[in-house]
Symmetry: C2
């Protein structure tokens, strides 16, 4: 069974986001070993460059297997494209890691280090909702790959 790591900067505070995450964790347990590696944002620092540099250090400790950065200004994927990509990578990798930045995005260093980038759209989402969208798309990918009927 493939391992999927989501490395996400920022904590989920509201119960409804936590419950939405739980629901997708439950659904995904049939398809993969899912680890959500939630990193404390570094907004205790006041300067944006410092925040991103500190978050970069935390992210870098958690990059395992084939790594993708979720990045708005990169190649746009449809749900089907995303499913095909996961399927392809799973042939030769046992771990896939998706990195989701926090409120300030990610540092230039992270953008340069992680060559493979995925964009789900041109809209900016808050980090909590972005995490739920990513979980749903991973679940949808497995549903597409299993040939199951899964509605909008």
């Amino acid at each position: 069974m493939i391992t999927i790591n989501i490395v996400a900067v920022g904590l989920l505070k509201e119960e409804f986001w936590k419950d939405a995450q739980k629901e997708y964790q439950k659904r995904l347990s049939k398809f993969c070993k899912l680890n959500i590696i939630q990193l404390q944002d570094q907004t205790k620092f006041s300067e944006e460059g410092k925040i991103l540099a500190e978050e970069e250090k935390l992210i870098e400790k958690n990059l395992q297997g084939k790594v993708y950065l979720l990045e708005i200004n990169s190649k746009l994927y449809s749900s089907e494209d995303f499913a095909i990509e996961i399927d392809k990578i799973a042939q030769t990798n046992s771990i896939i890691t998706f990195v989701l930045g926090g409120s300030y995005g990610v540092s230039q260093g992270i953008k340069e280090k992680i060559k493979d980038k995925i964009s789900f759209g041109k809209i900016t989402l808050p980090h909590n909702l972005a995490r739920i969208v990513l979980l749903e798309q991973i679940y949808r990918a497995f549903m597409i790959l299993s040939g199951a009927k899964y509605h909008k």
Copy 2:
């Protein structure tokens, strides 16, 4: 104060989606009069064409003011584009209606009738999550237009 109608096919079942919706309703109350017109999906019919035809009738009764259809295969908007569009339309309209299809999307008739379409990305989302994303983008638009700081 502008009126924004969201005409959405499909009920929110899980409490976490209802609570997420409530949170954005609360936040949006500062900026607009928001009406969420939730239509019962017609999946009691077994044939897809029939479902969409019945849902079309329900949708048609609720098209007021300037109407947009959320449609994956249409013009991609960024959050900033979307804010500019809302601002422009609000100059000459007191009501904006956004239509969100259900599990089967919308009928060809609705696609032809509603000329103005918006896509937030190439990914397919379930109707419940799509509704939360739309609410968040409307909120984000008002935050952008008010010049407020609003993070990812």
